[in-house]
């Protein structure tokens, strides 16, 4: 990474100076195309907002925008028990994130620093978990965790941690590998000790990777739907995670679209903002395993 960016300034200088003459028009065409595409990507979620602000009395009107706008779907949302679901989702996402960090940090550090027999086998095992999704083994997960008899929230914490471990291990492994071991050794010579070198030198340098793993796991667990639906079936809505509870607005004969989309916004807007922080590093975590 560091070595490839070094010669870049010289190259960039020659690249930009030559075709300057026809630059403006071309870059405006590109910009406009990109803006149009960006708007297309936002539109469905804008429609979600429009629906959440539409009064219930206008749900039957065939208009793009409502005649009146109302905020009441958001204020009455809490009387439908959504607060409890948000709490449950927070517990699951935070619990899974903490487990993933505790488990992946030592594994990633060890595989980055040491060469030992079974290292490749372990990394392949981790890669396999990324390839097998919960949907493929739902019957097994359901039967196993029903046998355990754990409360659904706890089961969902463990399952989400397991299926997001791979991402964390790969991205942390890449970060630890890029930090020279000499740096730690120098710190140890200076009297920091092994633990001191780890906490004062290595972990701060790997912080971007840790934050990425943390946010990614949180979002994935927050959005997870299938296992949540299977394991929290029959629970009172306040003890179901958000993704499942939102489906309770869909009745047999009618759908409470206003509350559904208001709750949907509450569920999606925070994770979209979180995702913007890790945007650029996510791809490397998802593809590193397959490339190495």
């Amino acid at each position: 990474m560091i070595t490839t960016t070094k010669p870049a300034p010289r190259l960039r200088a020659t690249a930009t100076s030559a075709p300057r003459a026809r630059r403006p028009l071309r870059s405006w065409v590109i910009a406009v195309a990109a803006y149009v595409i960006a708007v297309i990507f936002v539109l469905p979620y804008l429609e979600m907002l429009i629906m959440a602000l539409r009064p219930n009395s206008e749900l039957g009107l065939a208009t793009i925008f409502p005649k009146h706008w109302t905020f009441s779907n958001f204020t009455t949302l809490w009387s439908t028990g959504l607060g409890g679901s948000i709490g449950t989702s927070l517990e699951i996402a935070a619990g899974a994130t903490i487990i993933v960090l505790i488990v992946s940090l030592p594994a990633a550090y060890c595989t980055a620093r040491r060469r030992f027999r079974g290292r490749t086998a372990f990394l392949l095992l981790v890669l396999a978990t990324q390839m097998f999704q919960p949907a493929a083994m739902l019957v097994g997960i359901q039967r196993e965790f029903t046998d355990f008899g754990l409360p659904p929230t706890l089961s969902l914490i463990v399952v989400n941690a397991g299926f997001n471990l791979a991402f964390a291990v790969w991205i942390l492994n890449a970060f630890f590998s890029s930090i020279p071991a000499e740096l730690e050794e120098a710190a140890m010579v200076d009297g920091l000790g092994r633990l001191g070198a780890l906490t004062r030198i290595t972990l701060p340098l790997a912080a971007p990777g840790i934050v990425t793993a943390l946010i990614f796991t949180f979002i994935a667990a927050w959005n997870e739907f299938l296992v949540a639906l299977t394991l929290s079936l029959g629970q009172p809505p306040s003890q179901q995670p958000l993704t499942v509870a939102i489906n309770n607005y869909i009745g047999e004969y009618s759908v409470d679209w206003g509350h559904l989309f208001a709750a949907g916004l509450v569920a999606t807007v925070p994770v979209i903002i979180l995702f913007a922080f890790i945007e650029r590093r996510v791809v490397s975590g998802l593809t590193a395993g397959a490339v190495k």
């Binding site: 793009i64 978990t129 949907a135 493929a136 019957v139 471990l165 949907g264 999606t268 979209i272 996510v282």
Partner: protein, 295 residues
């Protein structure tokens, strides 16, 4: 002392191995075991019944059509996603004012839960008041078809096409980002050399960019195939796989079987599982993965 040193990696790895064992490996064992058992919808195990679940499964009248539909679903969704993403990646790789903001817009369907995106489209396709029909009505498209409303999700063919479109929509951000990171890895002097040799921009794209992008394309395709094969929320929310099983893929079919016959659902899961492994292995060998990706 030496023996202890050799065992320390195990100490560091054991939490991860334990977690993978409990969450990923053991469910596979339970699943394979269940596929040879007779289990009612309530989860009551009535005992082993050999390969009955498998023979029953293969004789289900919808089995073959569900498999074919799954194949079309995966190939169409992944194929269209890759094509559009190649274009998008090329576009967002350029420098232009406001690029950061447009890239943020691009990630929204990735960060949002797929279930919510599916529900928006379900609403937007409502025959009477859905915004897509309202707009089409304004333009006059739906009227030309001889009616002022279109029940897109009520007809299996149009429902599948719309659901594929939603599946492409939610797959685009990751794929585009994967290809973007591939494009960033191509050094600029390669293009300089190509333009000195007189290559036009289209020729240099085919001759230089695409071959160098191959590893990124292969990895993105593989991850997409696995995701799209196991995709659940879109079909579940928009049609529930119906009418009948006419819009079910094998994942939806398996989940529906689970309601009535857990043993047979387990057999279907094992079958799906093997299918994915075969698809991945065939893909890896036809693309000569190791030479391409390791380089």
């Amino acid at each position: 002392m030496l023996a202890i040193r050799r065992l320390t990696p195990l100490l560091w790895l054991s939490p991860a191995i334990a977690l993978i064992g409990v969450v990923v490996l053991w469910p596979v064992v339970v699943m394979v075991q269940s596929s040879f058992q007779q289990i009612g919808g309530e989860g009551f195990v009535a005992g082993y019944n050999g390969t009955t679940n498998y023979t029953n499964l293969f004789h289900e009248p919808d089995f073959v059509s569900v498999l074919l539909r799954t194949l079309i679903w995966v190939v169409a969704v992944v194929g269209v996603t890759m094509l559009i993403s190649l274009g998008l990646a090329q576009l967002f790789h350029q420098r232009f004012p406001g690029r950061r903001v447009t890239r943020w817009a691009l990630i929204i369907p990735w960060a949002a839960s797929v279930m919510m995106t599916a529900l928006i489209f379900k609403w937007a396709l409502d025959p009477n008041v859905g915004v897509i029909n309202v707009i089409l009505n304004h333009i006059g498209v739906v009227k030309h078809l001889g009616s002022n409303q279109a029940d897109w999700l009520g007809n299996p063919t149009s429902a599948l096409i719309w659901m594929m479109a939603v599946a492409v929509f939610v797959s685009l951000p990751f794929t585009t980002y994967a290809l973007l990171s591939g494009l960033q890895g191509i050094p600029g002097d390669v293009y300089e050399a190509a333009s000195i040799d007189g290559a036009t921009s289209w020729r240099s794209y085919l001759g230089v960019t695409l071959p160098l992008l191959r590893p990124a394309i292969l990895v993105a395709t593989l991850i997409n195939v696995i995701n799209v094969f196991n995709s659940f929320p879109i079909i579940w929310e928009m049609t529930g796989g119906g009418p009948g099983y006419e819009t079910s893929t094998s994942t939806i079919y398996m989940i529906d079987l689970k309601e009535g016959d857990v043993g047979q659902a387990a057999a279907m899961s094992v079958f799906n599982f093997l299918l994915v492994i075969v698809i991945v292995l065939v893909y890896l060998s036809t693309t000569r993965w190791k030479e391409q990706v390791d380089r």
